[in-house]
């Protein structure tokens, strides 16, 4: 793939093996994620799409390959610093620029919604508490949950929890948002409210990588769709190309089952 000035994350030949290579969760994935991309990753379960997403912020440690984010290969344990010395890579520094939303929300149950949202800005970015709270309330207002700021996660519905999880990640002002099946654990009537928030985010120009089974969302909001199977990137294209003119028989087979 040619070098691209707009590239935000460049993934090259990414591999994740288990049991000394007996299981290949990721088997050489190469893709360029550009600023402003809404990249939707689809594929049958076990195809490696979640592993791919979780590798991007090193929740999973890849076996081989590289992930260049902000000019740094974050799969390396040691990197060259500005003075040309090899230093330990501080992954936390990169992770704070990548927001992540999980299937099971993972809100912190012992903290209020507001505390959930201000924890990282205060602890990691050392934002003053008042400022962090003001910003959190503004974000909550955007997703219609300002009045629940002092509630605990247990008092919220699934859809509300996931909306909080999204704005919690946004509170760190990330450069890219990673969504790992954000609607899969929701009751059907709550899927819409979460997708609406994601849609709005996409329209604002946020770079997003979304692993999902929501084909409607992929078609409507995504500008690039990746189809994965057996740890490989099988087909990539615009939503029209993928959904209306699928080339690979695995993709045709998959679409015939889900559409």
């Amino acid at each position: 793939m040619a070098a691209n000035a707009n590239s935000l994350i460049r993934v090259t030949d990414l591999k994740k093996h288990y049991n000394k290579g007996a299981i290949k969760a990721l088997d050489g994935v190469t893709v360029d994620i550009n600023r402003g991309d809404v990249m939707v990753v689809i594929g049958p379960s076990g195809s490696g799409k979640s592993t791919f997403l979780r590798s991007l912020n090193l929740m999973e440690e890849p076996t081989d390959g590289s992930i260049v984010f902000g000019g740094v290969d974050i799969t390396k344990k040691k990197v060259m610093n500005d003075e040309g010395k090899m230093v330990k890579l501080d992954i936390d520094l990169h992770r704070r620029k990548m927001g992540m939303v999980f299937q099971h929300f993972n809100l912190f149950p012992h903290m209020t919604i507001l505390e959930n949202m201000t924890l990282a800005p205060i602890q990691v970015k050392h934002v003053p508490k008042a400022e962090a709270e003001e910003k959190a309330l503004a974000l909550l207002d955007r997703v219609g949950l300002k009045d629940r700021a002092n509630a605990y996660p247990i008092q919220l519905s699934g859809g509300q929890k996931q909306r909080v999880a999204i704005v919690r990640a946004l509170a760190m002002e990330p450069e890219v948002m990673l969504f790992d099946e954000p609607t899969s654990a929701l009751d059907p009537e709550m899927v819409g409210e979460v997708l609406d928030v994601m849609k709005e985010l996409a329209h604002e120009g946020m770079t997003m990588v979304v692993v999902t089974h929501e084909m409607g969302f992929a078609r409507e909001v995504g500008n690039r769709v990746l189809f994965m199977a057996d740890g490989k990137l099988v087909e990539e294209g615009s939503p029209e190309e993928i959904f209306d003119h699928p080339q690979h028989h695995r993709l045709q087979d998959f679409l015939s089952k889900v559409l």
């Binding site: 093996h17 076996t63 520094l93 927001g99 149950p109 990282a120």
Partner: protein, 258 residues
């Protein structure tokens, strides 16, 4: 078996039982405190990520090896190994043996100060008893703490790390506050267990409840009546305590179910 005269005679030595009660309670309390501190250190060792041979697991270009003995060695954590060995040894040997080893072997040649706690409890017996029981309960409490920490859903730490929090910050703000809820009831239960186990310390002359029984027996030639009193004392200590713990356990679990 029991006679009124027997109880009357035993009653003459009731002050021994009072002392025994104070001794048992204070010994158990100190044991839980010291045991907890020890357990905390052990748990931190067991959960630590201290790997001095980490570099051996990397290839020349700084990537993780696929497998082999060097990878295994790079994952070796000597702190974890030591703590695990300690816990397994202490949990696999009887308390009585541990008490004897501490009293006769480890502290056998140490001249302990010979004063009396509360004016009655011999420190040179009390101290080795507390040391042995603390070492024992430290092993059990370590596993309670470790299990409490590991019972927190992995998604919690993933969410925290994905927000950019370091592993220390994650432990402090996310894992520990939730783990303590799970840990407190079993720790309180361990207190009940120690009250009962501390009875073995009469064998090294700690003046706790069972010591009062044997002293009274020697003086009165009665055994059934002193034992009844000891049984009642232990029951009155342990039963209400465990009921109170169960009550708080129910209350604490009420709000946290997901």
């Amino acid at each position: 078996m029991f006679t009124a005269a027997g109880f009357a005679k035993t009653w003459e030595y009731v002050s021994l039982f009072k002392e025994g009660l104070i001794c048992t309670v204070s010994m158990s309390f100190l044991t839980v405190v010291f045991g907890f501190v020890l357990a905390l250190m052990l748990a931190i060792m067991r959960l630590s990520n201290f790997r001095p041979f980490r570099a051996l697991g990397l290839t020349k270009d700084g990537r993780l090896r696929d497998g082999g003995p060097l990878l295994a060695l790079s994952r070796f954590n000597p702190l974890d190994f030591l703590a695990t060995a300690y816990v397994e040894i202490l949990r696999s040997t009887p308390v009585m043996v541990q008490v004897f080893v501490i009293y006769y072997v480890v502290l056998g040649n140490v001249d302990l100060p010979n004063f009396k706690l509360f004016g009655m409890i011999r420190f040179d017996r009390f101290f080795p008893g507390v040391v042995a029981l603390s070492m024992n309960s430290g092993a059990y409490l370590c596993e309670i703490i470790r299990a409490g920490i590991q019972s927190i859903d992995g998604g919690q730490s993933e969410a925290a790390r994905s927000l950019g929090l370091s592993s220390t910050q994650t432990m402090r703000h996310i894992i520990l506050p939730q783990a303590i809820r799970n840990i407190l009831p079993p720790i309180a239960n361990e207190f009940v267990v120690i009250i009962k186990e501390s009875s073995v310390c009469w064998t090294i002359g700690v003046q706790e409840i069972m010591y009062a029984v044997s002293a009274t027996k020697g003086a009165t030639y009665r055994i059934a009546e002193p034992l009844v009193i000891a049984t009642l004392l232990y029951f009155c200590l342990c039963f209400p305590t465990s009921k109170i713990i169960a009550y708080f356990e129910r209350r604490m679990s009420r709000g946290s179910k997901r």
